[in-house]
Amino acid sequence: MRRLVSYLKPYRLQCILGPTAKLVEAIFELIVPLVMARIIDVGITSGDRGYVARMCLLLVGLGLVGLCCALFCQYSAARASQGFGSSLRRALYRKINSLSHTELDLLGTTSLINRLTGDINQLQTAVAMMIRLVIRAPFLVIGSTVMAIYIDLKLSVIFLIASPLIAFILYLIMSRSIPFYRTIQKKLDRIGLITDENLSGARVIRAFSRQSAEQDRFEQANEDYRRTSMQVGRISALLSPLTFVVVNLAIVAIIRFGAVQVKIGALTQGQIVALVNYMNQILLALVVVANLVVIFTRAAASAARVSEVLAMEPSIQNSQRKMPAEDLDAPRISFESVRLRYAGAGEDTLNDISFSAQPGQTIGIIGGTGSGKTSLISLIPRFYDPSGGRILMNGVDLLDWPLDKLRGRIGLVPQRAVLFSGTIRENLCWGEAQASDEQLWQALETAQAADFVRALPDGLDAPVLQGGQNFSGGQRQRLTIARALVRQPEILILDDSASALDFATDAALRRALRSACGETTVFLVSQRINTVRSADRILVLDDGKLVGDGTHEELFASCETYREICLSQLTGEEAQR
């Protein structure tokens, strides 16, 4: 919480002056019934028309000054709340950018976006309301009561009973109904879930002729939702009738006991009217206070969610040590008994992995789903750090590399072909901002993407829609490969990134990579035997362990898992060919 408050510091002035201005307006508002009482008691009683006119002008004047104060306050609130939101958003986005994969996995994309938008909006509203109303509303309640005491001590007892009573009613009803809203949302979610299941499973449901059973299931959820909604409805329907009755009973009491006071000359008629007005004002102000409580309760939850992210320390940071000199004779990459266990996981995802890869080598990595292939290659750009053992690049421990330098040497093609909205050129230049057209075309050529890009009306400047939806899966994959090639990396990692290509294109791609890559070490992750079989070496993963390391022929002869995978895809004769 304290962390968030610091983002308000630049707006200290607005935070103080805004509510002050609002206070002035509220004081003027409290004066209004008094002026009206004077009009009745002095103006009307003495029949002084001039006095009445002067007092009414005073009312307009009070209103005008009040308006100016209010405008100043609203402006302060707008500046402070939006400015606060803006700097908080920027800080949060920078924090998200600095987090490592471990934290990102933990929080999830949707949750992060919600925090960045919804939660911060909630906080902005809370800041604006704080400046605008936090002083005003309670002040009106207390002020009205004080004015009542000032007018007549005895009658003010009615105020001292009525206002807590109204507050209590508000508290009682809201505290009963608000928790229900979450329940209602959950029940609505269930209605949505069943609908969604019935749409996605339309074929299966019809195949089993279960439509009427599904209707019953839906009807149950629907009925449940209605019951709860009506239950809450019944509770909150009590709110305004109850407060209305209390206020008016208080007014009856004011008039009844006021009359006695007037009789003995302790009060005037105008003052009674003023007290009635104050009573009405208290009700309005208390309703505002109740709404404020709701807004702040929500904001507190949002604040907690935002602070949680801001307080996170990225688990992967630049080393404090100076980077030792690279040893160009050392292997490009070597894993030494590397172990990986994800945060919160009960078992190791990778266990005792050791191998090394030389410049210019192509290393195939194969294994079933969940065998740890992607985890293994995620360690190279330091998306995660090993839980045990170490990894060296050019003889230097990865932990000693500055992150930008390390990642600058690596070209990564992720499993999911992610493109960003913009143009093809913009996307390719992610790899190397200064790349020339010639370099871009060369990369596209190698990635087998040149043909279809050339066929586009705008060529390199053709637009890419969000997520690259205007390209087919295979085209997206080839563009992401080109993006990685543009930077001419020392290490190229292809994580199952040719899965949407047909076999002929896949083969052409591998051929082109081989001739284009020269000294580059290529990691080729795949489920297809045909993709990896021609690699210089193949690593076979099974359940997080390295169970084979060698060429296709060696592994087929010696590695049980590898042979199983081969035979599941090829005939025995094809595998040995």
């Binding site: 103006g43 307009v60 803006s86 902005q124 009738p241 045909n530």
Partner: protein, 589 residues
């Protein structure tokens, strides 16, 4: 949320009103209670005024005469509150029952829609009609209705009461009213422009952040953090620009209407007090007026707020009605028979089908499958393999030609009995949010414990189910998110084995499973297919090789048919397909 152009068909409102018809009684009650509530609430200021008139000065207090007025005041306050409460109860009942009814109607519509309509509507869109649009309808339309109704009633009532008290002072209020409306609409037009700008800026920022955070791993891999932050700041500055203005303008409404209010208050005070001095009005009357002046502008603000919601609610209702109006699938023929004791003989004759009239897909398709035969369908993407399956199950109706099961045209059978004859396993496993047991017994909810376990054993699923935290009672969430793809498929196979259908459809049933796992669950598939007429769409070689007959499809036609060896020997379409998709392309690549 960006404000899209709202299209509302004519007659939507009338249709919504028709939905309310069954609750006529409640509606009548709500109206009566609303009138009672408003009239009594409006009487309160008058009674307060009358009471104040009994206390003029120290020697002019009529305590006795005041009592009846105070009783009336108390009664009016309690009565108004009671009526208000009853009114809300009535509108709540109408609202939630109507909404429940509408949701049921929408859901029932799903099961009668032809699959083409479901396939062509994005699921999220449909779900959002079910949840958000109908919710919008309930808050905006029905509760808004109550607010507008009481609001208009209050304004009219106030006018009547004021004119009865004193015409001139009432006129002052009426003349000043447009001022308040003018200020409100002036602000509203500014707010609208700023809110539109803000919504757009917020949308752009959210889209950008979404794209970047979603692709965060790529952003990191390419070291693009700084550039992304610069872009974010640019979008954020725009949001700030509109945000400050939107926040400020929207915050103007309250102080401005308060000022207009106090001007009206002062004007009423002036004319009223002067009238009192000249004897045309009592002090109590003036008090009533002042109270009215305080309350008078409130309903105006409320109504203008509700009007926008009302519009959105109608738009939501229109979206729901559009689904309800979709044509339903053809019902079973009245003389339709049940398919019983099915042997599993399937014949397809001269079948033509297309999803869109301008693009013919399946043309002159013929096939005979004897009981127990295994038929494999192969061909490039989009050649119509899955379409054949859709037609067999009568998810879609052919344009021409017919399909016969055991010699009977399937159009002469009930859909339910036809579909019960087929067991179907698809690429996307479908598990619903229930326990493992419920999911296996989905096709036969009356199955005994032993039968469920026997089916799971036959599908080689029993051992992994027993390792789950609560065995067969483990609840599945998110479509079986905790299970591997292979395990999910085994549950689907168990489900089919339990219903024991004579015919089988496997549509890419193993394509999301890695090949080694596939080999492992192959046994389950073998059990499943034994003795059943099976139609298999597959892209894996192993499944195809053992088929009794392979149909090679290209652009909706069967171009070749025969066994694996026959077709390879032919060296035609199948051989080409085999070489491009299944065989190793080259050596030493």
């Amino acid at each position: 949320m960006s404000r899209k152009k709202v299209v509302v068909e004519k007659g939507t409102l009338r249709r919504v009103l028709r939905l309310l018809a069954p609750y006529r009684l409640y509606l009548a009650g709500a109206t009566a209670f609303a009138v009672g509530n408003v009239v009594l609430a409006l009487a309160v200021p008058v009674l307060i005024g009358q009471a104040v008139d009994h206390i003029v000065g120290p020697d002019n207090v009529d305590l006795l005469g005041m009592m009846p007025v105070l009783f009336q005041l108390t009664a009016a306050a309690i009565g108004s509150a009671l009526f208000g409460w009853l009114m809300t109860l009535c509108t709540n009942t109408v609202t939630y029952r109507t909404v429940q009814h509408l949701r049921s109607a929408l859901f029932d519509k799903i099961s009668t829609l032809p699959l083409s309509a479901i396939d062509n509507t994005p699921r999220g869109d449909f779900v959002s009609r079910m949840t958000n649009d109908i919710d919008q309808l309930s808050t905006g339309l029905l509760q808004g209705f109550a607010q507008i109704f009481t609001g208009v009633l209050t304004i009219l009532g106030t006018l009547v009461f004021m004119f009865r008290l004193h015409v001139l002072t009432a006129l002052v209020v009426v003349v000043l009213t447009p001022l308040s409306l003018f200020v409100a609409s002036f602000i509203a037009s500014h707010i609208h422009a700023m809110f539109t700008g803000q919504a757009e800026a917020q949308g752009n920022l959210t889209a950008f952040a979404g794209e970047m955070i979603d692709g965060q791993k790529v952003v990191k891999a390419f070291g693009r953090e700084t550039t992304a932050e610069e872009n974010f700041d640019r979008l954020d500055s725009k949001l700030y620009h509109y945000g400050v203005r939107a926040q400020f303008y929207s915050a103007l409404t309250n102080p401005c209407t308060r000022f207009v209010n106090s001007a009206v208050y002062a004007a009423v005070g002036l004319t009223g007090a002067l009238t009192v001095i000249s004897g045309g009005l009592s002090v109590g009357g003036l008090t009533s007026f002042l109270n009215y002046a305080n309350q008078y502008t409130k309903p105006f603000n409320e109504i203008s707020g509700v009007a926008a919601e009302f519009q959105a609610a109608l738009a939501g209702a229109a979206r729901v009605f559009r689904v309800l109006d979709l044509p339903a699938q053809q019902p079973d023929r009245p003389d339709a028979k049940k398919l019983e004791h099915c042997r599993g003989e399937v014949e397809i004759r001269n079948l033509d089908f297309s999803y869109r009239p301008d693009r013919p897909l399946i043309q002159d398709f013929n096939l005979v499958a004897k009981p127990g035969q295994h038929i494999a369908l192969v061909g490039p993407t989009g050649c119509g393999k899955t379409t054949v399956i859709n037609l067999l199950m009568r998810f879609y109706e052919p344009n021409q030609g017919e399909i016969l099961v055991d010699g009977q045209p399937i159009t002469s059978l009930t859909r339910d009995s036809l579909r019960a004859g087929f067991g179907m396993v698809l690429q996307d496993t479908w598990l619903f949010s229930g326990t493992v047991r419920e999911n296996i017994a989905y096709g036969r909810p009356d199955a005994t414990e032993q039968e469920v376990i026997a089916a799971a054993k036959a599908a080689h699923a029993d051992s992994f189910i027993r390792r789950l935290p609560q065995g067969y009672d483990t609840p599945l969430t998110g479509g079986g998110a905790g299970l591997s793809q292979g395990q999910r498929q085994l549950l689907c196979i168990s489900r089919i084995l339990l219903t024991d259908p004579p015919m089988l459809i496997l549509d890419e049933a193993t394509s999301s499973i890695d090949t080694r796992t596939e080999v492992r669950i192959q046994k389950a598939f073998d059990t499943l297919m034994a003795g059943r007429t099976s139609f298999v769409v597959a892209h894996r070689l192993s499944t195809i090789r053992s088929a009794d007959c392979i149909l090679v499809m290209e652009a909706g036609r069967i171009v070749e048919q025969g066994t694996h060896d026959e077709l390879l020997a032919k060296n035609g379409a199948y051989a080409r397909l085999y070489n491009s998709q299944f065989a190793p392309t080259e050596q030493g690549a």
